[in-house]
């Protein structure tokens, strides 16, 4: 198992993301993708886990192009693998960590089948490098329910038959989970107001289904989010 890789531990302060000039940032090669998203989303304060094989060049740590040890916090567990820096989080999950709930469909950030939560926010796992996802809290569909103990969102999708072939379904589940987490509690995005169809459509506009399961997904997800708001307000 990936957990048994026995990678070296990270050292405090051994950060890839800290204190880069823009010019250094542009020169960092393989790590640039990692920093790109972090900087763009204003979340650069998250230190990436250390990369023991990092080289230094002009004061900037370089990794790759060969495989380097990485580790992630996924569904509350710490997992490790040794991968090339160019491997996406999606491929790391699916091909190296046996977490195949997130699906690879478009592989370019359009279809939503690979949706996961990173630090509580929905993200396309195909569009973030595994190396840049280190040090952040990752939640995949495997972290919700099991077939025997479904999360209420999952139970509602089953009950309303909001799935057919099922290939897009885990992505919808995670997008819906992100929506539920954002709005379902007092002080959340929408407080306890009943969710509208328009709000649901916005929340899930980043996911596509080919079999045509929207008719089942709509009542399923509205019922759960309404119930969550009602119970929070009670």
């Amino acid at each position: 198992m990936a957990e048994d890789h026995g990678n070296e531990r990270s050292e405090p302060g051994d950060q890839v993301a800290g204190g880069l000039s823009r010019r250094d940032f542009l020169r960092t090669g393989a790590a640039a993708g990692a920093l790109g998203t972090a900087l763009l989303t204003g979340e650069a304060q998250h230190p990436a886990t250390a990369v023991p094989t990092a080289r230094h060049e002009a004061g900037v740590e370089l990794v790759g192009p060969g495989a380097v040890p990485m580790s992630w916090r996924i569904n509350g567990r710490q997992l490790q693998a040794t991968l090339e820096p160019r491997v996406t989080l999606l491929d790391a999950l699916r091909d190296h960590l046996e977490l195949t709930g997130a699906k690879r469909v478009c592989d370019r950030g359009t279809c939503g089948a690979c949706t996961v939560l990173i630090d509580g926010r929905t993200a396309y796992a195909c569009s973030i490098l595994a190396i840049e996802a280190q040090g952040r809290s990752i939640e995949t569909v495997e972290g919700l329910g099991t077939p025997e103990h479904l999360h209420p969102l999952q139970a509602a999708i089953v009950a309303h038959d909001g799935q057919q072939c099922g290939f897009c379904t885990p992505g919808f589940v995670m997008a819906a989970k992100g929506w539920l987490d954002r709005r379902g509690h007092p002080g959340g995005q929408a407080g306890n107001a009943a969710p509208t169809a328009a709000e649901l459509h916005r929340a899930l506009s980043g996911n596509f289904c080919r079999c045509g399961t929207y008719a089942g997904l709509r009542p399923a997800l509205l019922s759960v989010v309404s119930a969550a708001g009602a119970s929070e307000g009670a």
Partner: protein, 730 residues
Amino acid sequence: MADYSWPEAASRRLIGKRIARLDGPAKVTGAAKYTYDVHRPGMLYAKVLRCPHAHAKVVELDLSQVERMPGVKAVVVIQGEGAEIQWALDEVAAVAAASEEQAADAVRAAAAAVRYEVLPHFVDDYQLDQAPSTKPGEEQSVGDAAGELARSAVRLRRRYGLPRVAHNCLEAHGHICEWQDGDHLATWSSSQAVSAAATQFGEGLGIPASNVEVHTEYMGGGFGSKFNIDSWGVVCAKLAKQAGAPVRLMLDRDAELTVAGDRPSAWADVELGALADGTLNAWISSSWGSGGLVSAGSPPIPYIFEVPNLRHRHTAVPTHTAASRAWRAPNHPQACLITLSALDDLADRLGMDPLQFFNKNLHLTGPRQRFFAEELAVADRLMDWSRRWRKRGSATQGSASRGPERKGLGLSMHVWGGRGHASNCDVTVYPDGAVEARLSTQDIGTGTRTVVAIVLAETLGLPLAAVQVRIGDSQYPTSGASGGSTTVGGVSSATRRAAVDALAMVFAKVAPQLGVAADRLEAVDGQVRVKGEPSRALPWKRAAGALGVSPVTARGTNPGPGDLINSGSAGVQMAEVSVDLETGIVRVDKMVTVQECGLIIDLQTAESQVYGGMIMGISYALSEEKVLDPITGRMLNVDFDSYKLPGIGDVGELVVEMMTGPEYDRRGVVGLGEPPVVSPGAAIANAVANATGVRVPFLPLTPQRVLDALAGPPESAASAPSAASAVGRT
């Protein structure tokens, strides 16, 4: 002979009820393992070198450097020096490497190691007069079409059509191949035809089909494009053999969209006429379209209506594109769009409400006339059509307050066969009461497991949780491909026969214990009991215990004894749209489908098929089109950004009404997957014509096409759907 007939409605606990699909929990949690998810020890990753040209000869191909690249374990030439490539993205070579990234590196290097002689190509099938060759079909002729057309009180001549659309399965086509020894192969294949796949691998590799086991526990969509293992299935197995390790070969999205299946285009010039009272009288049409280099069949034009005076010919136009595949309801959506649009235009010219016009001509629909009449009445009520319909372009429902937006209503009708395919099912009852059905069928999202379980549990008087269904393995009893709406009929009837016979085996053992003849027993509520004497009963487990130490297995087949299935379903759809006259944007506000399909096994998954058909139909009506570039011969929109599918907010309110009751039950089981995807193109296009007052002649109904139609006569050249002009439209 045993009585295999379906139980009467009053005694059914499961059949026809709304039952959640049994594999839903596995799918919704990510626990379900699709082909793409299977990870075999030591598995390698394959990538394919594809030809960038639509028509070319491979002049030079030297992969000796590629073989030595890091991580590369196998290289297979698919079309080497001298081969003539006939469509863009066809396969030239494939590599397997330790990581997918290394395989991608190798394919990039291979692309630099191949030289092509580019040859002339033709892809723009709409331009019939520019086609290097055509293949005209036989002319159909009934009555005196030309004479009756001339005598018709109202006549119309127009062009209609729709382009190629892709299957675009979310799980790409592909396989994992693993050799167990020199001539025994195991595969995990994203397939709609598990039984056939083993034979195809055997043929492709020169090994006995019995040496191949194919697994398809879950598959992520097929829609008619996954009946064959394809050239890449054989390539995957060859790579695995060469490397001595399992290999995964899944198509990238650009290949999935370009070469892994599409629906043929269809264009038609139609002339038709009616008598003054609205009776459809004459039809003359000439249609053409392309499904690649080979002919892809001919749309059944005119659709549904047997016009008494008719002349029609379809011409296949060969193009340098990968062969079309059976896209859900092959040829029907094209024939429906062309025919029902023309009839809707004729009704308008007659000054008739299309609902009245179609009802007036239902006698031309043959044996389904009665179903159509009932369904049109139900749809009328659900859409409130008769009260709300207004003449074309008269701006229905308060448009004045809605600025540039106009609403309209449209109607269409469809048919399909759907007789159950050949299927075998083994039902085993174990002495501990366990029950299992095995059949080499597959679930393509339609709910096959659930249907088999419902029939098995219903027949044995057991709860659903008490039966096991094992499918998706070629080593189980042979079952047909899931295509043409044939699966539910095939597996439900085979399972019913097997379950009835297995139960008879149990009854034979239990009868002495209960002191009656076996034919006086019944299985109800988890018990085997004497008919009419419910107190004389044994719990199922104890009854099964009478089997002793050996389980019993009964084989059920379809076709087989008893009248369990049928062919021929009819359905109607109505659409309500809003069209913005300034932007040309069409929104589907509401769609209604009224559908019959004989005896329904699971009402919930049946309804899901209809919802799915409507949504897939909204998709090809409004946004889907394979844009083929005449200059390069390549498909331009090879990703989800530009090959557009509707999202959850784009499909409006959807209403499904399944026709049920004794007269439908009596027909037996009829397949349902295809019918609901046939009508949406015509229903939505007709609604747009009703809203705007003009006919948008070609799908998809993009804003540009709507604006073009509003700007000028529909036959104008500005609306020609050539790929070059479509680029800016999608």
